[in-house]
Symmetry: C2
Subunit: 147 residues, 2 copies
């Protein structure tokens, strides 16, 4: 192993670790806001999708969130128990489960209306900077997923 290789194996030179650490820390920042409403981060992003488009099925949700039924099935059962969504077997195709927001689930969106703005302040990131970062991340994501 040469010097370059050894250098590249250092934790602080890993792009993957910067991503992993940033992702976790941002989610930690969300926690106080979400926990006060009894939600986890994953439950929150699931609601984000449903607030945009209600009545999606499990696999559609999974495609948007990059999660599979092994994660979503128990998660949605919890959201159902807290009466934020309903899981309904599709009459036309009994394999499919569609997920609908309840009134309570729809109303909850209002509670979080200013959360993205708050998080912006909390991270202290500039709008231009955030846009650039998100663009780069989406490009990277695109590269990876079309392999």
């Amino acid at each position: 192993m040469n010097w370059d290789e050894k250098e590249m194996l250092k934790l602080d030179n890993q792009l993957c670790f910067a991503l992993y650490a940033c992702s976790k820390e941002i989610i930690t920042l969300y926690k106080p806001y979400l926990n006060s409403q009894g939600l986890t981060y994953t439950q929150y992003i699931t609601l984000l999708v449903l607030w945009e488009e209600d009545g999606l099925n499990i696999s559609e949700l999974g495609n948007k969130l990059l999660l599979d039924s092994g994660t979503l099935t128990p998660l949605l059962k919890k959201l159902e128990k807290s009466q934020l969504v309903e899981r309904v077997r599709d009459r036309d195709d009994e394999r499919v489960v569609k997920v609908y927001l309840t009134e309570k689930g729809k109303m909850l969106q209002e509670t979080f209306s200013d959360l993205p703005q708050k998080m912006f302040w909390n991270t202290g990131i500039q709008v231009e900077e955030a846009i650039k970062l998100k663009t780069m991340l989406n490009q990277l994501l695109g590269n990876i997923r079309k392999l």
Copy 2:
């Protein structure tokens, strides 16, 4: 809730989701290389730290990896079971557990010497781009953690 607020609540406008998704996808890219050696991603980054500096204790590892003993204790026991590290109570301070690489653990570094380079190719990202991205992520991480 106004239009701006509604727009900012869309999943695809969330910087946090871009980070979360990218982090997960990159880790997925690592999996084939790591699993073939019987390692998980978290075990791998733990070894990265130890290859740089052997004999750290649990809390020092946790500070570098942003993980606590609840995660590290079982993880290190697994690495010990596969004979890559040894966990040793410090004689001078019996509260402390120091973690040492075994010969097998040290040798394993060689196996991964070209992995960072391989991952670069896999992600199709340019060096300049990667540096810029990592810089932005570290800056964001710094902002968050000094709150």
